[in-house]
Amino acid sequence: MGSSSNSEYSSRVKRMIEQTGSGIDEGSFPLKIFNDQDIYDAELRRIFARSWVYLGHMSEIEQPGDYVRRYIGEDPYILTRDETGQIQAFLDSCMHRGAQFCTADKGNTSHFRCPYHGWTYSNDGTLQGMPKKAEAYQGLDPEDVELESAYLDTFKGLIFGRIVDEGPSLEEYLGDFKWYLELILDPTEKGMTVVTDAHRWQANHNWKTSADNFGGDNYHVFATHQAAEETDDLDRGPWKKLPDNRRGEFNHLACTDNAAVSYQITNDRETYMGYPDDITEHFNSDLSEEQTELFRRSLFYFGTIFPNTTVVHAVQSGGWGGPWAAIRKWQPRGPGEVEVISWWLVPEEYEDNDAFMERSHRGWESLSAGGAFESDDLTIWEGISESTKSMTLDIRESKGNMQQGMDGMSDEVEILEDPMHGPGEVTTNGGFYDERGTRTLLSSWYEQMSREETGANSGEQ
């Protein structure tokens, strides 16, 4: 980027990045970053290319040849298990002229044939053949041609990928959040499995808006979801175990370096989110006593791993079903647009229990585009993307607020030091009255956005 207009662009972006960094400790951020083309372009390069981006779950590609189409940033990748059982992820771009060769969202195939001139790749990414090689490419060694592939790493069945191989390993990156992830997505002996195809919808909001919402914003539930919570005649299940109007007291927020999770618990050790009582026989023996104890008392977990992975394990309030687990990806599609992908998971032990699966589906459904809860969020988030592209916020450099939980803001928010709550920085009432989750995710954002680019075509001089 050498032209003068580009360096202007660069200084404007730099300024917003710096304002975000310096605002974190005072609880403010530039509202404009929630819908800005230049910021978005920088995010694709600086955040999505070099962060660990969730691609899929092992249970989705169990057989050799199974594949699913997934994105890193906006780049289309094919996540597959090759004929030797190795997991691979290739860019859907032929090394001849760049044509795409995968049109489906999922399938099973041992090779991909490019529709343009017919080059064929096996599902380990190597070139297998090309039409008329003897006539057209006598001097070309097919072994020199390979599809671009992503760097992969896994944790508890979750497959993540990145384009640039720099920075911490996945486990290092997850850090203390591994403790929470183990109990949210690996609480039973057999592990979890993805049940069916994902809910997918395209929505008009920035990926950060929803990533932030699921990273500890229970405060919005009062206003946004009142209508869904006030059901007339549904069984509220384990939520009845909470004393009336005492929810806040049992609501916590745990923050780690790059993730935040809010969770709701009761005092009853037999709550376990409404799982059948035999769940105790299936508890994963790898879990610590504290992890098991927390799981026993829980009603929900909603968390976000920066940048765009959300994890859920919950029984829905208001009687709208569950327990269910879900992994969500906030797939960026532009500064004010996102594709939401929500996969439903259950412990394998319950996969064949029809009554359980029906309740679990209902919980998952409550947070789909057709769900009694999510459908309310979507209308509101659309408004955020509309307002934050405004010139007023840009020119005035207006700031949004995330001061909850800072000094002098609330008597209710206290640091909780108790091994049962894990190694994160945990606050009581945190999901409701502490915006530490937002501050955590924006610090990760700042860290990635302010780090020098090292690639050959980096935007920096």
């Binding site: 049109t103 489906a104 069916t196 195809d197 946004t224 005649d233 589906h361």
Partner: protein, 179 residues
């Protein structure tokens, strides 16, 4: 779950039956378009299920149906539909505030199965949705399968599945009046 392909059966029901079924669907659509959801609820049997299956584009040539057998955007029984109707009456049910302006256009109505108790009806539909004070709008194209229970007092809806064209839902949310 599969969208069934149905052979033409124009001779299988009388013009009068065809007419009564169509008139019922048109009148029902008007209740949805005008948010008269309490009245609409009265048209449902108490063992109804309404389903909107997930659609996924699978590898070309595979036999597998595009519609999920066990994953739905919405799969609700009577109790849940009733709660949804109650919900949408509230001004703070943001999913329909601003309230959508909805118009069903229903066509290709075919009666595909006739029993003593019921008619199975398939129709195509375009549902136009506009909302707020903006030029934005969505058109949801779908095929809809409905089981109509025959009774003394007229028809009741005993089952419904809406098969959307889109594999990625492209309107901001799916609410009852859009089905």
């Amino acid at each position: 779950m599969r969208e069934s392909t149905t052979p033409p059966r124009s001779d299988s029901v009388s013009p009068d039956t065809q007419h009564r079924v169509e008139q019922f669907l048109y009148a029902e659509a008007e209740l949805l378009d005008t948010f008269q959801l309490k009245d609409w609820l009265a048209l449902l049997t108490e063992d109804i299920m309404i389903k909107v299956p997930i659609r996924t584009y699978t590898h070309p040539g595979t036999e597998q149906s595009e519609f999920s057998e066990n994953g739905y955007y919405l799969r609700d029984n009577y109790d849940m539909i009733r709660e949804r109707v109650g919900r949408l009456k509230k001004s703070y049910a943001w999913s329909e505030n601003p309230r959508s302006r909805i118009r069903h256009v229903i066509g290709n109505v075919r009666i595909t199965e006739v029993t003593e108790e019921s008619y199975t009806v398939t129709n195509n539909q375009h549902v136009y949705r506009s909302y707020g004070d903006t030029p934005e709008n969505d058109t949801l194209s779908a095929r809809r399968d409905t089981v109509l229970q025959r009774g003394e007092a007229g028809f009741k809806i005993a089952d419904r599945t809406v098969f959307f064209e889109d594999s990625i839902v492209s309107t901001k949310n799916i609410t009852l009046p859009l089905l």
